[in-house]
Symmetry: C2
Subunit: 119 residues, 2 copies
């Protein structure tokens, strides 16, 4: 049996979780989970992070509708990082872009390489 308590959490009880589009392979975002949000996510298949700013559970898309359905959770070799293969509805980023990683460093300059989705 998989036990969320068997993962390695940092001093604040958190583990980084990378969300990746299960079909395209695009890395969508990185956020944090505690043991309880790992358990919740596995339980109902809706990705729930822990919001460090609000110190509260953050079920992705609860207010925006931009939910993440968990397809598969993966654990890394050190057990201190998670990879979430997800089905993302709409944009993952609060800027309305598909991914949070929309800024590239090219020739020592920042370039925005992704436009917000049309709504």
């Amino acid at each position: 049996m998989f036990d969320p308590a068997s993962l390695k959490y940092d001093a604040n009880g958190l583990i980084p979780a990378i969300a990746q589009d299960h079909r395209s392979g695009e890395v969508l975002m990185m956020a944090w989970m505690n043991a309880e949000s790992v358990a919740k996510t596995l339980e109902d298949g809706r990705v729930t992070y822990w919001s460090r700013s609000r110190q509260a559970f953050w079920t992705k898309g609860e207010s925006s509708g931009h939910v993440q359905r968990l397809v598969e959770m993966r654990v890394d070799c050190d057990r201190d990082c998670l990879l979430l293969l997800v089905e993302q509805t709409g944009p993952a980023c609060h800027t309305n872009r598909r991914s949070c990683f929309y800024t590239a460093v090219r020739d020592a300059t920042e370039v925005v390489i992704m436009a917000p989705l049309e709504t």
Copy 2:
């Protein structure tokens, strides 16, 4: 101009960096960088992390030969996480697997889904 000091580092001066195969899209590993390792990586295109256990720079593949050549660095919307598109030579994981995320949680059980590469 891109300034590594403009990123948001944690209390230890570190930022998480996700390495992704630039061709296949496979997420290979997650490790940490400080401002200096971000600068070093951009400078010579060889990915250099900061080892938290050794408290030293860690140029990926320096001893193993399993180097990561930086193809592109991306910054997320909060400026507190990096995505590194890389060209990975050999395995990224110290277990000799292509990716560190070789354990999946399926039906509440851990399953190893990737074999070590043959050497």
